[in-house]
Point group: C2
Chain length 223, copies 2
C-alpha cells in the first residue's frame, strides 16, 4: 500500500521542499518582509492559490523556515565541535562557527534571532531546534574539569539553575550554570550587534572583538 500511496505523497513531499527552497532563496534576497507567496509560486510556475495546498498561510511557511534555520545554525555549531580535545578550543570553534553561519545567512539569522515576526507565536516545534547551539556549548563543559567560579546567586535563580543542571545532566554549580547562560547571551548578543550594525563606530569590523569575546567568555565560565 505504501508503494502506490507514495506516488502522490512523494510528489507532494518533493514539491513542499521545492517551495521551501525557493522561499529560502527569496528570503536571502529580499528578507522576510519582502517574501511573497505569489512570487514563490510564480517562480515555481504554479498559481498562487495552489501553494495553499502545501502551506496554509505565509506565516506557516515562515515558521517552517524558522525551524530549518534553527537546525542549520545548530548543525553548524555541532559540526564545528570535534568532540574531543582541548575544551577551550572546542568552545572557540563553536563560537566562530555560529557567527560564520550567521554572517553567511544574515536574513535567515534575522528570522530566528531578530524580532519575532507578526503574530509572534513560537510553536513547540521551534524550541528543540532552538536549543541546539546552546546544547553544543553545554556539551563542551560536560566531563570537563572546570575552574571554580565564585559569586552568590539568589535563591530563585539558584532554583532555575538547579533545574537546568538536572535537565542538562551536567555537574556544575548554579554559579557556573548562570555564567554559561550569560556566555550564551553574549554569543548571540555580539552576533546581533555585528549583523545589525550596532558596532559601527566602535568595533567595526568586529572580527577581533568577537574573537576576544569568545576567549574572555571561555575564561568566564571556567574553561
Amino acid at each position: 500500500m505504501t508503494a502506490t500511496r507514495t506516488a502522490r505523497e512523494r510528489a507532494r513531499a518533493e514539491l513542499t521542499q521545492e517551495i521551501k527552497d525557493e522561499a529560502r532563496r527569496q528570503l536571502a534576497e529580499v528578507g522576510a518582509h519582502g517574501l511573497s507567496l505569489r512570487a514563490v509560486a510564480r517562480e515555481l510556475g504554479m498559481v498562487s492559490s495552489a501553494l495553499y495546498r502545501y502551506f496554509p498561510s505565509r506565516d506557516r511557511l515562515l515558521t517552517d523556515l524558522i525551524v530549518d534555520a534553527y537546525n542549520a545554525i545548530g548543525e553548524a555549531a555541532e559540526q564545528a565541535d570535534p568532540g574531543k580535545g582541548a575544551p577551550r578550543e572546542r568552545w572557540l570553534a563553536i563560537w566562530h562557527a555560529t557567527r560564520d553561519w550567521a554572517r553567511a545567512h544574515p536574513h535567515e539569522y534575522a528570522l530566528i534571532y531578530g524580532s519575532p515576526i507578526p503574530g509572534y507565536q513560537a510553536p513547540q516545534d521551534t524550541v528543540a531546534p532552538a536549543a541546539r547551539v546552546a546544547l553544543a556549548l553545554v556539551k563542551v563543559l560536560t566531563h570537563t574539569e572546570l575552574r571554580a567560579v565564585d559569586g552568590a546567586v539568589s535563591s530563585e535563580l539558584r532554583a532555575q539553575a538547579e533545574t537546568l543542571t538536572k535537565v542538562l545532566g551536567i555537574i556544575a554549580g548554579p554559579e557556573t550554570v548562570t555564567r554559561l547562560i550569560m556566555a550564551w547571551t553574549q554569543l548571540f548578543g555580539a552576533i546581533n550587534f555585528d549583523l545589525f550594525g550596532q558596532y559601527v563606530g566602535s568595533v567595526d569590523p568586529a572580527d577581533e572583538f568577537f574573537a576576544h569575546s569568545a576567549k574572555r567568555m571561555a575564561e568566564f565560565v571556567g574553561l
Copy 2:
C-alpha cells in the same frame, strides 16, 4: 523670525507630531510589520494620500519612529543615573532602567534592536541617538577608580579601543574598553533574549538572571 512662523507651519508641525503619535500607538498594538499608513490616516480622519505631504514613504516614517525610540530609551537610561554616588549603584540603575523601558515598549524596542527593517538604511540621524545608552554607561566609568582588569588584546582591537578611548574621553586601558563593549553587548543581548522568548525553558522569568548579570558585568568591567 520665529514669531512670524506662519500658522501654516505650526499646523504642519503639529500634524506631523500627531501622525507620529498615532503611528506609535499602532506600532505598540500591531508591531512594525502591521503598521499601515492607511490605517494611521484613517484614524486621523484624513485620506491616505494626504499623509505623503508629511512623510515621503512608510520607511521614512518608521525611521523617524526609530530615532524617537533611540532617544526615548537613551533618555530612560540617562534619567536613571543619579550622576553621583556609588558607581556600582549607578551602573545597576542604568541597566534596570534600560530593560524596564524595553519591556514597557516591546515593539518600539524591537524596532531598534530587532532585525533592521528591510529597505531602511541606517541614516546618520540614528547613530547619535543610538549611542546614548552606551554613553550613559561610559559616563559612570569616567572619573571613577576602576579595579584593574587583566588580559591581552590583539593589536587591531587595541587600536580600535584606543580610538574609542580618545573619542569617549575616558581614562582606561584597551582591556577595560573592550570589556565595556562586552558589557554593553551583554545588556542588550539579555534584553533581546528576554523579550524575544529565548529564555523560555531556562531562566524564565528572567528578572533574577538579569539582575545577576548586571552585577556580574559591573565586576567584569572593574566596578
